[in-house]
């Protein structure tokens, strides 16, 4: 019954979802003009009546449309492809070869949760010669068992083990390959979840938002007002204390929001292995379920942001392949692990990536180039700022832009220290730092191309830049390696059957 040639309809809840989506659409399009008119002309009874009629009509129309589109939406698995048909007025039919299915994701929003249905998202990749990625298919409402069945029969496969019909004792039975039992690899504990939130670094994103909001308060709570109030009350004797307290409060708020964000996204994070695929389940309010075939993983990255580094904790990310014009995707493989746990974790999840070779650092003479590269933009800006300040007669303030140059230089030094690389028979490992320190592991057979580049300055001092493209948007680069090492990496990471000497 899994290779259902009979076209199937979605769960009827799809109608409701469609209706809600239409209403939301109508609302967002029409509410502003209405509010505008209401504010300008005032509200009278006839306009409210007209509005009500309009709302009823559009809801009924949307409901009818939702029903028609539910009736028109059909999907089936026929032979080696998934077919999806929809469209009330026009007909839209899509056929996706099962081989091209990249992942089958299950997502459960709030409404789907109420009715105990799920959304199935089928992500595809235009492989072969077409180069154009096919668009994704989304089945907005499917019952749990049907979704599981779909995920099993659509699960991206390598060889393509297709169910075969055989006559057996007069009865036509269909051999369905046993669904592999999912094996739990790791579950995120409560303590780790909170730690992940506390050290997520999202605070940097939340903070500006809060700052923007506090601008609004500034208009109401002017400093003079606050100060007077505070002094009248006899506490907070000076403005410094107010400022410090306020800043502290804002920081704390941002931090709590960041923690809440991480809890929402990563609560119950569970990674399991199911045959040749990895399955990730996560989320507090919206449960997300993603299945990714292991052989689509191009690279694994461990990211230590500056808050996690003192704890020796990392986030593990995987980059999966893009095809043609499709960008690859970066997925969190596990939100928080101790650095020492990473290798054994990868051994269980994606053994191809479970290596931790000793990393080489850069030659000493590259340090100068790193420092200059980082300090130079700051230096140019500082020169401009200092001349402006001197011109304005504020030369004692020149210390500020000048210290920025020092900061730039220090950043360059940190980046230099952060770089590490290793090339062995089957892997390229590159560690680099922007603010977070990231280590990327890519097997040789996943490298799409390798490059060796030299600027005239590099040529003079015998350094070079080695880079390897792993996927669209993921380029592993080591700047200012020893030129001989870079050249060695260029050829060592090629196909083994390459002629050794040309």
């Amino acid at each position: 019954m899994s290779s259902s040639a009979e076209p199937q309809r979605l769960h009827p809840v799809a109608m409701l979802l469609d209706l809600l989506r239409s209403i939301r659409g109508w609302f967002s399009v029409t509410s502003l003009p209405w509010l505008f008119v209401a504010f300008r002309d005032g509200i009278d009874l006839s306009s409210i009546g007209f509005l009500l009629v309009l709302i009823v009509v559009s809801v009924v129309a949307s409901a009818v449309w939702g029903m028609l589109s539910w009736r028109a939406t059909l999907y089936s698995i026929e032979g080696n492809s998934f077919r999806f048909r929809r469209g009330v007025l026009g007909r839209n039919e899509r056929t996706i070869p099962l081989d091209h299915i990249q992942s089958v994701d299950i997502v459960q929003g709030v409404i789907q949760r109420i009715f105990n249905v799920v959304e199935v998202r089928i992500e595809t990749a235009g492989g072969g010669g077409s180069g154009r990625g096919e668009a994704d298919v989304s089945l907005p409402a499917v019952s749990r068992p049907v979704a599981a069945e779909l995920q099993r029969s659509l699960a991206p496969r390598r060889g393509g083990t297709v169910a075969v019909a055989q006559p057996d004792a007069g009865v036509l039975t269909v051999e369905v390959p046993e669904a592999p039992q999912p094996v739990l690899i790791r579950r995120l504990s409560m303590g780790r979840l909170l730690l992940a939130g506390a050290t997520s670094g999202q605070i940097g994103i939340v903070l500006p938002l809060i700052a923007t909001f506090s601008q609004l308060f500034d208009d109401v709570l002017t400093p003079e007002f606050v100060m007077r109030f505070a002094q009248e009350q006899g506490w907070l004797p000076n403005s410094v204390a107010v400022a410090v307290l306020l800043a502290f409060g804002v920081l704390l708020l941002a931090w709590l929001i960041a923690i809440a964000g991480a809890v929402l996204a990563f609560a119950g994070f569970t990674l399991s292995r199911e045959g040749d695929s990895l399955r990730i389940q996560r989320g507090l309010i919206e449960r997300r379920e993603v299945t990714i075939p292991i052989n689509r993983i191009q690279a694994v990255q461990t990211v230590e942001n500056i808050f996690r580094q003192p704890f020796g904790m990392v986030l593990v990310r995987m980059e999966s392949a893009g095809y043609g014009a499709n960008a690859g995707v970066s997925t969190t493989l596990f939100p928080l692990l101790a650095r020492a746990e990473v290798e054994s974790f990868l051994k269980a999840a994606a053994p191809e990536f479970a290596v931790s070779p000793p990393l080489q650092s850069l030659p000493r003479r590259a340090l100068r180039r790193y420092v200059i590269r980082s300090a130079l933009p700051a230096l140019l800006l500082a020169a401009l700022a200092v001349s402006l300040l001197v011109w304005r007669g504020l030369s004692e303030l020149a210390i500020v832009p000048l210290s920025l140059v020092l900061l730039g230089g220090a950043y360059g030094w940190l980046r230099f220290k952060g770089v590490g690389w290793s090339v062995d028979r089957d892997h390229l490992v590159v560690r680099y730092r922007t603010l977070a320190r990231t280590m990327a592991i890519a097997p040789r057979r996943r490298l799409q191309s390798r490059s060796f580049a030299q600027s005239p300055f590099q040529r003079r001092v015998g350094l070079a830049t080695f880079s390897a493209q792993v996927g669209r948007g993921l380029n592993l680069e080591v700047v200012d390696m020893e030129a001989t090492d870079a050249e060695d990496a260029l050829y060592r990471l090629g196909p083994t059957s390459a002629p050794s000497q040309h």
Partner: protein, 159 residues
């Protein structure tokens, strides 16, 4: 470093790049002239300052049209090896790139309007990480290169 790849681009590549450089320069003329006008009329800066954007433009135009195409052509090399495509390019930064044929998803030949006028074409081959380009080959040569890459790609080795 192993010896540079053997094949060169078509010599007409230089003319092609000169034309392209001239077109780019023409577009850059507008902001440069605008800046000069702004400096002389609105700010009323001294003439030597006002002329600066114009001079800068002249320098860029000379580089783009007269200097870069020749250097670029003499650096550009390519070769289709048994298992990889070997590319070398660059004017100041010289880059050597190796693309395993087993990673190539598909190959195109492409022609822009100017290339078509000159009987040139580019070979573009795609990996999962994006396109790689061998520009400015004679049309017939481009077809040969494309077919050669396609043929070698078909013999995929998953090593």
């Amino acid at each position: 470093m192993r010896t540079a790849p053997r094949e060169r681009l078509d010599p007409r590549a230089k003319q092609l790049w000169r034309v392209e450089g001239a077109i780019t320069s023409a577009f850059l003329l507008l902001p440069a002239a605008g800046a000069t006008l702004f400096l002389s009329r609105v700010v009323e800066a001294p003439t030597y300052l006002a002329a600066l954007p114009g001079l800068l433009w002249l320098l860029v135009a000379v580089l783009l049209v007269l200097v870069a195409p020749g250097v670029r052509w003499s650096r550009w090399r390519y070769e289709i090896l048994e298992t990889e495509v070997d590319l070398q390019r660059g004017v100041l930064f010289i880059t050597r790139t190796l693309v395993p044929l087993a990673r190539v998803q598909h190959v195109d030949t492409q022609q822009g309007p100017i290339e078509r006028g000159m009987g040139l074409a580019s070979v573009v081959f795609y990996t999962a990480a994006g396109p790689n380009r061998i520009p400015a080959l004679a049309v017939q040569r481009a077809d040969e290169v494309r077919d050669r890459i396609a043929e070698l790609t078909r013999v995929r080795d998953e090593l």
